[in-house]
Symmetry: C2
Subunit: 315 residues, 2 copies
């Protein structure tokens, strides 16, 4: 743990990516505040480039590569927002992006990745085939593999979302982020540690993919065996780097079922008039589902993304 990202690392990342990302706004909603008897501050990463916070980590990783390292392009496997984020980041360096996607990925996500000019290689939707296909792509192209979350450059990039939030809203009692692979949550915990140490950090996870909840309590990584949740951005399990930070600097993990996640996704769209994906609704869902009492508190919530299929709402 001696080499976990420092405040300087996070501030350098913020500077590195500044011109390429949006400083996203913080929205409030008095009707939702009344429902949970608290003051909620929603950090709108659904408005971020590629529609998700993932742009931060991918840009930080890719912009930090030397000309030589990046010359043959970058590669990853992803069915979701990291794929589009990496494609965007590669474009910013003028190099190719090679993305391995499962052939059952949503059309809208395939199109987004193509639109950023990335080369897609389709594979069957198993982790083994994803990794094998990626290895072949890397061998063929010489591209650098940029992992989706278990990487300090990625964690440091994601940490910049909370860094901004603490600048925009001082004196938060609690900050909440959804947890899948743990890149956003570990980054959020580090920014809180350095910038706002009196703020509690809470991760929110779907019951159908609750490896972080189990791992946090067991003190060791216990991967999800058959994750199943509407929050498709949170299916992955923690990595060793994200878990070490979460174990040490996150105050608690709370979970909530898909039914509440779905109704909360709808509530955010109806009341706040913003488009969010189910993964982004998970922290508020834990409050509405009474898994965490925040009465009287000032709570920052990172709305992680807005890439939902408008043809197929879960509600």
């Amino acid at each position: 743990m001696s080499d976990i990202p420092t405040l300087i690392d996070i501030q350098s990342a913020a500077e590195r990516i500044e011109k390429h990302i949006h400083r996203t706004p913080v929205l409030t909603n008095s009707a939702i505040d009344t429902m949970v008897d608290a003051n909620l501050y929603f950090k709108c990463e659904n408005f971020q480039k590629v529609g998700a916070f993932k742009a931060r980590g991918a840009l930080n990783a890719v912009l930090g590569l030397t000309e030589e390292e990046v010359s043959k392009g970058v590669a990853t496997h992803s069915s979701g927002n990291h794929a589009a984020a990496l494609a965007l980041a590669a474009r910013s360096r003028g190099v190719p992006a090679y993305i391995v996607m499962p052939d059952n990925a949503p059309r809208v996500k395939k199109e987004a990745v193509s639109a950023y000019g990335a080369e897609i290689t389709y594979c069957t939707p198993t982790l083994k085939d994803r990794e094998d296909s990626l290895a072949k792509v890397v061998e063929r192209t010489g591209a650098v593999f940029i992992p989706p979350f278990n990487d300090y450059r990625i964690i440091t990039g994601q940490a910049t979302a909370a860094l901004e939030l603490f600048e925009q809203v001082p004196d938060l009692d609690i900050v909440m982020a959804p947890v899948g692979g743990g890149g956003l949550l570990s980054g959020t915990a580090l920014s809180a540690l350095y910038i706002s140490p009196s703020t509690s950090v809470i991760g929110a996870e779907p019951e159908g993919a609750d490896d972080a909840w189990h791992s946090f309590r067991a003190g060791k990584i216990i991967p999800s065996e058959k994750p199943d949740t509407i929050a498709d951005g949170l299916l992955t399990s923690l990595g060793d780097l994200t878990f070490e930070i979460i174990k040490r600097y996150v105050d608690d993990i709370v979970t909530i079922d898909d039914e509440v996640i779905i109704s909360t996704t709808r509530l955010i769209m109806e009341r706040m008039k913003i488009v969010v994906e189910p993964s982004a609704a998970v922290p508020l869902a834990t409050l509405l589902g009474k898994r965490l009492n925040v009465s009287g508190k000032r709570v920052g919530i990172i709305l992680s993304g807005g890439n939902i299929d408008l043809d197929n709402f879960p509600f």
Copy 2:
């Protein structure tokens, strides 16, 4: 025309309603800018109280009433956003609101009006039955009728949206607003006249309810006979007060068909991650449909509202 609202009237309205409304943000989107080769500034009245700019006019009218005038409550007929806006405004004065609604109004709008504590009287969906029902309600209750658009207090209230926009974004070449009854467009024209006279004012209207287009060209009011458009906030025809201002101070009216309005509604939700109703998408739709060339210009667009039925998207 000697008594059209002055700059002082608009500024007084802004002050009167300030504590009751949101100063809505202005959003930009580089992908959409590229599509129309311009810099677009979206004034997000979909984030306004009751989800639409209508809160401004209704609050200005109701807050301007004396204690005696308002003592028996306020009343209107409306199937849409003005109903919810008037219910909100009445609540802010602690008086009853009586709303006559056609019995075929969308469930979501009925619920919104009820949620603000208004008393709803249902009628058949004809203008005659609406007016007859309203007359009975006013006679029974002694409530004051607050019209939806053809009223200087309403026009002055709606004008505060553009007033804010001109403060938030200087040097606009063009400002665009959708036009139904003309409250928003006439108010926008007055704010431009007083605050930013070099800015052109363009109204955008659905082809299926193009009375403003015809009236503007004929120089006299020509009501729509059988208006039919997905933009359900723009079905009404101009009133004499709104038309006089539009005739004099609006530079042009442009129209667009429902197909483009629908695809534009979807585009805004997908790209900007905000929820808008079809009426709000009409100005951008006229640009994407090439009814107006704004190449190289700075264009302010008022996104009028976000009350769309999430169960029944038009796309």
